[in-house]
Symmetry: C2
Subunit: 144 residues, 2 copies
Amino acid sequence: MNMGPMTIGEAAKASGVSVKMIRYYDEVGLVRPASRSEGNYREYDTRAVNELRFIKRARALGFDMAEIAQLLSLWRDRERPSREVKAIAQRHLADLDTRIREMQAMADTLRHLAHCCAGDDRPDCPILADLGGADLGRADHTTL
Amino acid sequence: MNMGPMTIGEAAKASGVSVKMIRYYDEVGLVRPASRSEGNYREYDTRAVNELRFIKRARALGFDMAEIAQLLSLWRDRERPSREVKAIAQRHLADLDTRIREMQAMADTLRHLAHCCAGDDRPDCPILADLGGADLGRADHTTL
DNA sequence: ATAGACCCTCCAATGATGGGAGGGTCAAGC
DNA sequence: GCTTGACCCTCCCATCATTGGAGGGTCTAT
């Protein structure tokens, strides 16, 4: 296997990150190519490809670019205190949990409304009634 | 209470939707003002304000604008079959459930990793190890 | 030399929302 | 009547990560 510099397309295949996104990460300074060729092509080495994979995995865990920038710089720093990594992870985790709870509240309400809806030819519909601000039997399931 | 046409600011207060968003809903054709004043001010009646509230509630349940456009047109149609409303709600519900499951998988993985991280001065960190593609003890918690 | 696959940069759009600039309208008080 | 301040108008821009395309240059194999 050729371990020399890769083109952006090769780095994309090796990392699973799209060519477009690799260019974007370069542009925002997250992962810069090791060098440029004579013809101005980006050249990536295995280290850069590992960083791209790192980003891909971090994105899959829901981290945003700002968090990934921090994680990446900690990853590059062999002296990092794991405390800092854990803090970022826990902050993100709390964020995830909040969003999950919000979406679950939506889903629960919606499930209840859909369950109460006949879903036939008739126009009467508790879903629309709720959205329209029905005053009947509220205060329980509608509280988000 | 004055039931005549309201200005956009009054409609915003009455509906809980921001002035900016009311203008946006007008622009995209979701809720158009009942009329325009001499001075080109948008004028909203109670019906429009009810529709704004409808949108607000639907947004709180996570519906996107395309879904809301459909729900709104069903709401306006007294002949609608509740089946159609229910179908939209159930599609959205399935979507929500999928997203919730995805986020829960992220959160579970992250919780596990954070739990395994000492979070002290030392650089060793299972979180970074996982992001970096560690080959040790995978295949269980890392499967998204 | 030419075809085809690849690469480059720049621009635009996504969805819902907020922010602001620059300017017009209206009502109250003088 | 005129000023002031609150309100309104229409544009434009930014967000966040990602994708798409246009227009054009580079490389490789035939």
